[in-house]
Structures are given as structure tokens and as C-alpha cells.
């Protein structure tokens, strides 16, 4: 009788090891896959042409110029590398000077141009002029005025 009383019931416990394994795997997945939201990318409704012949951006270093959306088809300015430029002659000249300084540091710098699909062309075209001017202002022969027009692919 005394022998039976000395046998204690085993404590019931869930084996948490597989769950912790899976949880850590999930965390590692999210850490690797997620990227810090690029603050330089402004939330814009980009054009999405049908049957787009666009290509994936390469791994080259690049700077993003956003044409900030205003009311209707207007724009309220431009944004590049967390700095805002007014949509007037002075703002565009400042943009060209900043970009020229970047070109001097890195002649192979790519320029991504992001504009909202509803924005009028008259706000986008000055950026082409500014990029051309920046290539000229950089004073380097190996800098080519070139932009990457950013769109969203539907399919």
C-alpha cells in the first residue's frame, strides 16, 4: 500500500520545442524578406500600362525622384533623397545641382523617376530637363543623362 502512495503522477507539459523552432524560422523569414520601407519612395499610384514592356530594375545604385501629387493633375513639388524641391525654376535648379553633386560622386548613378498616373505631363517633363542639366553640370564626360521611368506591372 505504502509503495503505491509514493508513485507521483508525471506532470503533464506540452513539448514546446517544435513550436519555438517554427516560430524562429518564421521570424528569420520575415527579417530576411522584409525590407525597411524606403522612405524615399512616396506613396503614388504609378502608371500600369497593359502588356508592359518594362524590365526589372537592376542592382545598380540609384536615386529616386518623386513627382509629388497635387490636386487634379497638378504637382506640389519634387522629392529626392528626403529633400523636397519646389516645382518652379529655382526648385528645379536646386534639384539639378544636388543631382550633379551625386553624379560627381558616382557617375553610374541611376535616376528613377516616379510620378502619379494622374499627374499632368507638364510637371514630369521638367525633371527630364533637370536630369540633363545635372549630367552637364557634373562636368564629367562619362555621365549620361538617363532616367528610369517607374511603372507597376499588373500581370
Amino acid at each position: 500500500m505504502s509503495r503505491d502512495r509514493s508513485i507521483q503522477p508525471e506532470p503533464i507539459a506540452a513539448n514546446l520545442t517544435p513550436m519555438i523552432d517554427v516560430t524562429f524560422l518564421l521570424i528569420i523569414f520575415f527579417v530576411v524578406v522584409s525590407q525597411i520601407v524606403e522612405v524615399e519612395n512616396v506613396d503614388l499610384d504609378l502608371p500600369h500600362p497593359q502588356e508592359a514592356a518594362s524590365e526589372l530594375p537592376g542592382e545598380q545604385s540609384r536615386v529616386v525622384i518623386n513627382v509629388l501629387r497635387g490636386a487634379g493633375g497638378d504637382s506640389i513639388g519634387y522629392r529626392m533623397s528626403n529633400r523636397r524641391y519646389m516645382a518652379d525654376t529655382a526648385g528645379l535648379e536646386a534639384l539639378a545641382r544636388s543631382l550633379a553633386a551625386m553624379y560627381r560622386q558616382n557617375p553610374a548613378l541611376g535616376v528613377n523617376l516616379r510620378a502619379d498616373r494622374r499627374t499632368d505631363y507638364r510637371w514630369v517633363e521638367p525633371v527630364f530637363q533637370a536630369v540633363s542639366a545635372a549630367a552637364r553640370l557634373s562636368g564629367r564626360d562619362d555621365v549620361k543623362g538617363r532616367v528610369n521611368l517607374v511603372v507597376v506591372r499588373d500581370d
Binding site: T23, P49, S54, A115, R122, K144, V150, R153
Partner: protein, 159 residues
Amino acid sequence: MTRTGQSASRRRRCGARLGLNLTSMIDVVFLLLVYFMAATEFKTGEEIYRLDLPERGRAADPFELPRDPLRIGVTTVGRDEYVLRLSGPQSAGPGPATFEELFVFLETRRRSDRAAGGVFEADHPIIVAPTGRTSWDHTMGVFNAAVRARYTNITFSAP
């Protein structure tokens, strides 16, 4: 205490398993998991078109034969409608009305080894000519049609 009682109590003490308390770690790990799941933003499929801007002030090649560029005007009408207007070679007659028709128009006129009847070389100058009020979406629609038809010398005009 008897000898038997002492050994029983020692056994009970030794039987208590040593183990780390994982509760706090699991709490933190779950918090991290929830954070990453909530904060992760999967990248939308952003893609690019490469556009070489014309070099201003470049001396013209004296041996280059002038080629009449094909000018494709596009105007936004209302909110989502657009009107295409072609000028230059091959622009006589009713022109394409949609981006798909524009693509077919350009594709069938591009000279290639496989198809006869092309009139434009792949590097024939094509000028996308939107008005100032044309939406960027419609501008890119024209540009996409020309890129899709595999033309390589595409520029934008000033509004």
C-alpha cells in the same frame, strides 16, 4: 525521521527537473513575429523603362541623313479617355485610336528580317508628344507601345 523516510524525500527533491523558464522568451519571440508580420510590406511589382535623354549641345553628325521622325501626340480627354494623333511619315489616313492599335501600327511598320513591308528601322526616331495636360498614365501608354514594338530611339517632346 526514519532512514526510509529520508531517502524518499531526497528522491523527491532530486526528481524535480532542472529547466529554463522559456515563457518570457516565447513572449518576446511572438511579439517580434507579430511585429514583422504587421510591418512587412511586400514590394509591389515596380519595373522600369530606361530612357536616354537627348544630349543638348552635341555637335550634329554631318554625315547623318536627316530622318523624318514619327511624332505621336496624345491628349487626355475627360478623366480616362485619350486621343492619339500621328504626324510624320506613314501618318496619313485614319490612325490608331488605342494603345493596342498603336502597338500594332508600329510593330507592322518596323523593318525586320522575318516580315516584309516594314518602313521604319528599329532606331527610327519616334517622338512621344503629349500636351501639358496629358496624364502621365497616357504618356506612358504611348511610350510602352513604342518600346513594346521594339523601337530603340524614343524621346519625349516638351509640352
